[in-house]
Symmetry: C2
């Protein structure tokens, strides 16, 4: 049995690293806060006698030996980076619950058949360096390491330079640390479990996701002396794209979601017609065909806007993740673990992207969800109760043991 | 006769202070670049034997004595600050042409009846500290000095602190430096003079202008796991306001102009539904009644958007300048000066705001316009030919002498 209090204490202890006044965490990937929480994690796993390997994109792997050295490790973990205005549970819970699993086994002197591998993936959030799930994406061969290295944050710092700056560019080639299955515990980040009174989400897969970077170029000019018909207003074009992206999702209700989350205006001065806008588009749906329709709607809108307002537009795909179905055996282990604990469960597809979605293309994988109060995530007010976190960690432990004993 | 080459040389010389690679100037008010160009101006006017007074908001006044000490000075000048992506002529031409007028009179040993007063107004652009024309606005009693002091730039620095930082908080109370009339030379910043082949714009007045700061507050949440009906997307609301502001101007064609020039999204992360947007609105028209209609359309749109999207909205008026008619005697002096030079003229109302619009409420005032290539301004590509600048400076000199000899 996991120690609920110890788990909650580690959540509280690490939440101080990058804590914000509103009760959230700002711990952008590869920032100094990220370095501090990584150093902390390293110390914890080394205290348990685990061997830590860091790979070329900063993914951290802590190995706890099993009884049978011929078996590939069972991985468990998530990510410790957060959004700029993130909460205390997104990702963090999955890593700290994995640590709690190792500590519990250690305390009980229990040795699994297969080795266990605690994982902390680099840049899951994609908030500093787009796209999201970059560390697991390089691990899984979805993104080239060189391409990842060169991704830049808004200050122009590259992913590679940031890795070096915090000293977490490891010697192991990305993808070289093997494992045979993965279980990731995560908060739901949506409203369903709470609404239905279920304690455990048995996750069947992850919806598909496409990310785009769009630039609109018009002409900066004076707001007072430039007649309306002479204008080439990039922000007016951006406004129409924001509206069109929202409308595209509404047209594919109820499952489609589509959002412009980032938008930057240049020169951004009260009395200058905006000459340049950069924005990002996030489209998601559980079916590839609907993702195609959403993408077509975006491209159509961009054409309409650029022609109608005499702008030039550029659209670049920066992430394209197909819908993923998780492994039936892994799912069955989670279901048995939840039943053993007497928890009401709900089968569900993840709305958020996860490292598990990349890993699922390589090895049997699944996830365990616990409720998010009011469905709120990527927000400092993100909340999951101590008992709910504990239930999730216990199911994680029991699912891993169930899978290990096949 | 003014020295056209000397005028162009000073334009080139000062354009180096804050020069940008694209041929423009970035010399935000009260920045270190602004300090350097102010120091340069101080040296030039002191070399001419003028007495420099700096007032409490940094406005610079250089007095050249006249023959009759009982007459109030005739002011001439403009501003040396620029937009973040500004050109080489907006404001700068008016100050350097005034300097050229003083140098020409000095070279000719000519003493006017009234003293002359070269003026460099602080923060005409309003790009770092909104609103525009803040220095002349405090001079004219439109804005309280305390209110101006407390205005903040996007980094949170106050106008007062920035004044102190560059050492241009003067001892003279704002409004205490008297003058009896003002002539301001400026580029048109619009397309009319060029289109009609006129060299000199005889400016009849300035259209009215209202500025607003709007905040929209929704709820930051996850883009992947938050269903469309649960969203409170502040950027979607902002997009609708941008569209409504544009539509309001179109509804009052051809004279109305309306723009959102500044828009900032928080947290501005690809996979976070924007919880907060700050934006500014700039509405202009030559008639107060139409400005009322534009403002009503903005307020209606804000109500519609906040109700429709479950956002909270806040709207604050930060500038409200009534349409201004310039002084008939000053206008007549400009017209005679242009005729003397044989320049084709065009009567016009200024689309851009100017310090002269504030000053016109106190003393007889007018402006002289010269063409802007392609009507382009608030853009590094802003362009006025050397001969056009020289024509403007000569008309400025002759108009001031005409007015002085009434
Ligand atoms: N779980 C999570 O928030 N991942 C970030 C990537 C995404 O946007 O879904
Ligand atoms: N002339 C000029 O560009 N003034 C700035 C204030 C404004 O009109 O926006």
């Amino acid at each position: 049995t996991i120690n609920a209090e110890r788990l909650w204490d580690t959540l509280t202890e690490t939440a101080a690293i990058g804590a914000t006044p509103d009760g959230g965490i700002a711990r952008l990937t590869l920032s100094d806060e990220d370095r501090r929480v990584r150093d902390w994690l390293r110390a914890q796993v080394e205290a348990l006698g685990c061997t830590l390997t860091v790979d070329a994109v900063g993914n951290m792997f802590a190995l706890r030996p099993g009884r049978n050295p011929d078996l590939k490790p069972i991985a468990l973990g998530s990510h410790l980076d957060t959004q700029p205005t993130g909460g205390k549970f997104d990702g963090v819970l999955g890593v700290l619950a994995a640590l709690e699993v190792l500590r519990t086994l250690d305390g009980a002197g229990f040795v699994t058949e297969a080795p266990l591998l605690l994982v902390n993936w680099t840049n899951e959030e994609g908030a500093r360096f787009a796209p999201a799930m970059l560390g697991s994406g390089v691990y899984a061969g979805i993104y080239a390491g060189d391409w990842a290295e060169a991704r830049q944050d808004s200050a122009g710092t590259s992913f590679g330079a940031a890795l070096d700056a915090i000293g977490y560019r490891g010697a192991a080639p990305a993808g070289s640390v093997p494992f045979g299955a993965m279980f990731e515990l995560h908060i739901e980040q949506g409203p369903i479990l709470e609404a239905e009174g279920a304690a455990i989400g048995v996750v069947q897969g992850v919806q598909g996701m496409r990310w785009f970077e769009v630039t609109l170029e018009g002409q900066s000019a004076h707001t007072g002396s430039t007649p309306m018909p002479m204008r080439r207003n990039a922000l007016l074009g951006a406004a129409r794209l924001v509206e069109a992206v929202d409308a595209a999702a509404q047209a594919h209700a109820p499952d489609a979601v589509a959002t412009v989350g980032h938008l930057t205006v240049t020169p951004n001065s009260n009395n200058v017609i905006p000459g340049h806008v950069f924005l990002t588009v996030d489209l998601r749906h559980p079916q590839d065909a609907v993702l195609d329709a959403l993408e077509a709607a975006l491209r159509d809108a961009l054409d309409r806007v650029t022609v109608g307002l005499s702008l030039t537009g550029k659209l670049q795909v920066i992430a394209r993740t197909a819908p993923v179905a998780f492994d039936p055996d892994c799912i069955a282990s989670v279901r048995r673990a939840a039943e053993k604990g007497g928890h009401p469960t709900r089968d569900m597809v993840s709305g958020a992207g996860h490292d598990a979605a990349h890993v699922a293309g390589l090895v049997p994988t699944t996830m365990v969800f616990v409720p998010s109060a009011a469905g709120l995530s990527h927000n400092p007010a993100e909340s999951t109760a101590p008992s709910e976190c504990a239930a999730g960690a216990q199911v994680l432990l029991d699912a891993v043991l169930d899978y290990d004993s096949r």
